[in-house]
Symmetry: C2
């Protein structure tokens, strides 16, 4: 029996078929009845090949960032691929110092994927974008044959406006700068691992997936823009990879105090069990801040005053080091290198 | 033997592995040695989580558009997924009346994909973006396990600047308006079909994949912006679907002359052989223009003066019709409805 695209979408028991990606009536119906309703905003409602948007205010520059999302499983404690796709791109803009304004969403769906699950994902995405104050203004849907994809992939791209006076960047770290993190490390990565490995803990480990633009604005409200040297969200590769990227970009080194880095006891225990290091696990709602030493206390106070930064901590400082090494003073007083991740991969964490 | 990410990428016989998507050293190497070199521009070289870009000129608005690309096969006569990904998004911006400025590229790669093929695709993408005058300013790479993807998917998002006085949109078609196309219909769709079905013709059918921003600027150079009512690129679903979208958005109908629609003889013959209709086949380098009748001659002349519009033709007109029907006067003098595509899909055409 041929599907009937003149009846409403069967969001309870229907499935994605190849027609939904063919650009005809089925595609139009999916866009209107699922995406259009969930993301509902005037730009999307323009219904053209792109969205016409107001330009940023005078003196502001544009920031653009993109991320593909292939997380597996699609649903996990603390989020799903939909909320993650919003948070990932919002955060990439926020750590550039920008106010995130608009998102685009490109869906690559696998034939046979249940519409009910797609609706859950799209609703979650819409809720996350509303909470972050960022509209999904344009989108695209493609469908691949069963076995040529994996349920849902979502590529999101964001546009933000960069106010004058904000210039954070990986190359701007200077010896003497202080390194802060906004909270515990490794929660997202361990939440995904725990589901994949079907490990049950006393209490569930939840992803920290969250939009960081509010936290970043709180920081810039307390510290002059020029004193915030680097902002990063330590996602894939975790804190260790992010710090190494920064030392490479800025031609510096770092001395980090292991005992100062917040890690949830549950995550620490799970890491021990699985032989993983929490400093290499992805975070999806945490900030690394590197700022002028004279501003460190103000910055830390601003982070701690925000719900997403309650456990913020000062974890070390930038030092002179032409090799770009990130050194970790261990809890026992020894030293080890926090090197680039190059061994085991944690694929499809985001 | 573990791969060694301290040696240069093996672009001749290497393959994508899961580490290339893990965010560590292998990802950094792939970005630096492949993407960074091919797309080489100051924004990408910033090396941060996003690109900081100049805002559009005063009085201009922003336009944003996104497209996922899953075309199969990845290489076809006249292009590949890389050039197509650039053209698709550049054209979506151009048909909004915007000057395309910046692109982002999100790659979803399948484990085991040959680096040599990826390099071919990335080089083609870089060449297409240079030819269109649009920089790839930021990107992302994810890797999925073998059997969970299909070689390469690319989601591109574009930002353009919309000069004042240009307001084309699907809702702006008015009864009496003239409908033009910039050239032959169905070339891209048939080029893909011919490769898939391994059909050999006397001469190869080539995709029309091309960037339309130059052609659109030529049109706006000849016709006042307010007289260009609708611009569209008839991609998935072809001319028929595009015209139906326009009549639905504008609450009009259309009367189209079949004999006036340019179709390459090779494409027409192949359509007959395969039982396909060229008006439902995708185009990737063609424009549909709907303009005020008084400007039709100027518009047609402007299109024909451009290399990409040499075969432009006037194919019909917008009429009053509350049902939104697109009627086709056939070459034999009969009438048929050019309805929405709802039957057989042509999946993964772009």
């Amino acid at each position: 029996m041929k599907p009937n695209y003149t009846r409403p979408l069967d969001l309870r028991s229907g499935r994605i078929d190849l027609n939904h990606g063919a650009g005809g009536r089925a595609t139009a119906q999916l866009v209107a009845e699922l995406f259009g309703r969930a993301f509902d905003n005037p730009w999307l409602a323009q219904g053209n090949d792109g969205a016409v948007l107001p330009a940023p205010a005078a003196g502001e520059r544009l920031v653009m960032s993109t991320d593909g999302h292939v997380v597996s499983p699609l649903f996990f404690p603390g989020g799903d691929i939909g909320s993650l796709a919003v948070h990932g791109t919002v955060n990439d803009l926020a750590v550039m110092g920008a106010r995130p304004l608009y998102l685009s969403a490109s869906f690559i769906l696998e034939e046979g994927f249940p519409l009910a699950e797609l609706k859950r994902i799209v609703d979650s995405m819409a809720a996350a974008s509303r909470a972050a104050g960022v509209a999904v203004v344009c989108g695209d849907t493609k469908v691949v044959e069963q076995g040529k994809g994996d349920g849902v992939f979502i590529a999101t791209t964001g546009i933000g406006a960069l106010p004058p006076g904000r210039t954070p960047g990986g190359a701007c770290a200077r010896p003497g700068d202080v390194v802060l993190v906004s909270g515990s490390m490794g929660d997202h990565g361990m939440a995904i691992m725990a589901v994949r490995e079907a490990i049950a803990f006393e209490s569930e480990i939840r992803s920290d997936s969250a939009a960081l633009n509010g936290l970043v604005e709180a920081l810039f409200g307390a510290v002059p823009g020029s004193d915030v040297h680097v902002l990063r969200d330590p996602t894939r590769g975790g804190l260790a990879t992010t710090l190494n990227e920064i030392t490479r970009q800025s031609g510096t080194g770092m001395m980090i105090e292991e005992a100062a880095i917040p890690v949830h006891p549950q995550v620490a225990a799970a890491c021990e069990l699985l032989g993983l290091d929490p400093f290499y696990l992805a975070n999806e709602g945490k900030l690394v801040v590197i700022c002028a030493p004279a501003r460190a206390d103000q910055a830390l106070a601003a982070l701690r005053a925000h719900p997403l930064g309650a456990n913020a901590a000062r974890i070390g400082q930038v030092i002179e080091d032409q090799h770009g090494f990130v050194q970790l003073r261990t809890a026992l007083g020894g030293m080890r290198m926090l090197d680039w991740l190059s061994g085991e991969p944690l694929p499809r964490i985001c």
